[in-house]
């Protein structure tokens, strides 16, 4: 009976398990937002360090950090560091519309990769409590989990961390 109770508790805890620092990545294969025939996955990204970001166009925090991502990506070679964002909007058009608006606003092209998760499989697998959620990935493992949006200060700290990881 004790075993049965423990099994039930274990199954309950499993359903709430989230991906945290030190965990292995959960890979995926999603279409590129701009070119749906192209597939994107973490393993296909040849960079040493990857920043996986889950976002949506209806999320103000996600939109706030997008200009910082453009800035951060521009500082690194794509062989070293890549920002891979996964959009979870109900329609891909919403994300495309927002990114076009962003490009006009910052007067810079969107230089990071964006995948569109139509069936929300990545969010279901990573189970972040909210959006945006970012995962710094090194060698197939989550090095750092960032909940919430980046600020200028945290972006600078992250940049230093990426530089130290690339050494």
């Amino acid at each position: 009976m004790f075993r049965l109770i423990m099994l039930m508790l274990f199954s309950v805890s499993l359903s709430f398990a989230v991906v945290r620092s030190g965990d292995d990545i959960i890979d995926f294969s999603l279409p590129n937002l701009h070119e749906s025939s192209k597939k994107i996955s973490i393993t296909s990204t040849s960079s040493k360090v990857i920043l996986l970001n889950l976002w949506a166009s209806w999320c103000p925090g996600c939109k706030a950090e997008m200009p910082l991502f453009i800035h951060l990506q521009s500082k690194f070679n794509k062989k070293d560091f890549t920002i891979l964002t996964v959009n979870v909007d109900s329609k891909s058009e919403k994300a495309l519309k927002y990114l076009t608006k962003l490009e006009k606003k910052v007067n810079l092209p969107v230089n990071f990769i964006t995948a569109y998760d139509e069936h929300k499989n990545v969010v279901k697998a990573y189970k972040p409590v909210g959006l945006p959620a970012s995962y710094l990935i090194v060698d197939g493992k989550v090095k750092k989990f960032i909940m919430g949006s980046l600020t200028k200060k945290s972006e600078m700290r992250l940049e230093e961390e990426i530089k130290s990881l690339l050494k």
Partner: protein, 71 residues
């Protein structure tokens, strides 16, 4: 019997509506304009203006006026 006291509530918890978890991507519905307390910001300002006059309380929210209630 003693164990049933622990097991049955756990089993029935599965039927509880409280366990329904709003997934991250489902929060898009909460972000919709119609889900806001005040769906129209312009109307909100106008209503605040009228409220201030009617209640003789605080000023006309973010509106400037002489207190006539018109806008």
């Amino acid at each position: 019997m003693r164990y049933l006291v622990f097991i049955l509530p756990l089993l029935f918890l599965g039927c509880s509506k409280k366990l329904v978890r709003v997934e991250t991507y489902e929060k898009e519905n909460f972000a919709k304009e119609r889900m806001q307390f005040s769906p129209m910001s312009v109307r909100d300002e106008f209503e605040g203006h009228l409220f201030g006059i009617r209640e003789s309380a605080v000023g006309g929210e973010s509106s400037f006026s002489g207190g006539c209630g018109c806008k």
